[in-house]
Symmetry: C2
DNA sequence: TTCGATTTGTTCGTATGTATT
DNA sequence: TAATACATACGAACAAATCGA
């Protein structure tokens, strides 16, 4: 079998929680420790039942929530992280794996691991589920569901500050009556008004956001949340129903009142499952439909 | 650096594609080959750019499609698979990982890895997305979205054989006019008719399925497909829209014709993305809604 | 353009922990 | 108790992509 020089570890990190003289360092030869940060061991006594990689994952998630690395920025390399946290590189990879699967991080071979940013692409494929109605999905060519999604153009219709109604307060986890910003946004697809969005966000989380700033944003709304307020929407939860269109909604959509529309109640969350936005979308599904591909995964979604 | 005794491998499996005398077996020491099956190396010349674990994953998927292991049965253990395919156990785990994530396989520590079966639970959490309308999602208690789903009771309304219309033929990837079974099923939730399903399946894939066999099934419909015909639905794709309820649908649902209903077009697929079923569901969303939790993952969904 | 350093991706191997039978 | 099987963790080597000198 050869090779007994390997340090016979027995849980490397049994230093109990805080404190723990860093220099001791088992594993990975003593030398070359120059310039290296003192390792910040995970508080992990091995008896807790929590796997190491999950503890690290949690640590990374918290760091992300605190904005330690900005969207688009690179995390420290895997080898650096493995040193900083005194775990093996495999454990680091495992911790990152799930964050990548959740689209919170993005890995690029040869470059690094990056915090996912709210680009138009991401929005389209991860949060925007309304597509042109397709009869005859091409088939035969193997790539059935990469529907040619289209970037909507938006126009702001209302922007006002108001006290949170009960339902929205509950959605956002804030007190009833707390100030919220209520935004009404009309979305066009193919030159046609298709969706009316009613967006509610806590005014405390988005201070000094006003009509002008909202309209002058350069990218998507979630991009604005992220770039201007450091809030990354990473997940959303939607409940759909078919209802008769209220008159106030019907008008901007060019529908007769009472016409069936798709009503979507979405709650959008940031890192620690904290709600950020409550949104009701009214969708005219005469020419469009809601696509729920639960789920083609994305094993091979090149590009 | 010490330790040069490690076998200097250079791609173990370079045996070129088919044929390849099995006995030659590079890697994994010569001994202990008793009783072991001759390894069936993956045709993998290392230059193809296809990772080993993905080749193995494909191999496993094909084996599943052929019914090599029945639903509920255990696969060979990871160590056995690693011997059979002459890859490391880590590579086996990696290949299985994605199948587990896709709910095609289920791992149980200490027991084995099993082919997912269509139990009621699986149906409810993976394919059935209509839940009672919730105002005030409990919040506060950390487990927000494990909605208390309810098993629907069903009653068959129609069962007939007919030539496939164009749209359904396309959905199912069969010739127009080929025989299909068309099934109409009414679903009740809480003693109330909520969903009308119109199901279309190829009669060639489900020979001798008749009204009686369909009604006498013991479990879910997908369970019937699986147990009686060896066809496992592993994925589905749904397109939703809001429409005015046709009279023929309105009647069984106890709705006025023209009332808004949610229309869901689903195509259900088996292993190699082969379509199995085309279904249109009409949902009365006055007391229920469609839940699209894209996606809470299921990192910690104990139970 | 080439080359080397850096970083993620793949594969192997080993040891040990924990659940099941 | 012992054997089996999956789960976690570590480490090594090499492949492939990227980027700057």
């Amino acid at each position: 079998m050869a090779n007994d020089s390997v340090t016979r570890r027995m849980r490397p990190n049994v230093g109990e929680a805080a404190g723990a003289a860093p220099g001791s360092g088992a594993g990975s030869g003593s030398g070359s420790a120059k310039e290296a940060q003192p390792p910040t061991p995970l508080g992990h006594d091995g008896t807790s039942g929590v796997p190491l990689y999950r503890a690290l994952q949690r640590r990374l998630t918290h760091a992300l929530a605190e904005g330690q690395w900005k969207p688009g920025e690179a995390l420290p390399s895997e080898s650096r992280l493995s040193m900083q946290y005194a775990v093996s590189i495999g454990t680091v990879r495992r911790a990152i794996d799930e964050l990548v699967a959740g689209k919170i991080l993005v890995r690029q071979q040869g470059r690094g691991t990056f915090v996912a940013a709210h680009t138009a692409d991401r929005l389209l494929f991860h949060f925007f589920h309304v597509v042109a109605r397709s009869r005859g999905s091409t088939r035969s060519t193997e790539r059935p569901v990469t529907a040619p999604r289209e970037m909507p153009s938006t126009s702001l219709r209302k922007f006002r500050r108001m006290p949170a109604p009960a339902g929205i307060a509950q959605d956002l986890g804030i007190a009833r009556g707390a100030p919220v910003l209520h935004i009404e946004n009309l979305l066009e697809l193919g030159g046609r008004a298709v969706i009316l969005d009613e967006i509610s966000i806590s005014a405390r989380i988005f201070p000094d956001l006003d009509r002008h700033r909202f309209e002058q944003r350069s990218g998507t709304i979630y991009g604005l949340y992220q770039q201007a307020y450091g809030i990354s929407v990473v997940r959303s939860n939607e409940r759909l129903s078919a209802v008769a269109c209220p008159a106030s909604i019907a008008q901007p959509l060019g529908l007769a009142p009472g016409h069936p529309v798709l009503s979507i109640r979405r709650i959008a969350y940031t890192y620690a499952d904290r709600p950020v936005e409550s949104r009701v979308s009214w969708v005219d599904t005469r020419e469009h439909e809601y696509l729920s591909d639960l789920w083609k995964n994305d094993p091979d979604h090149e590009r």
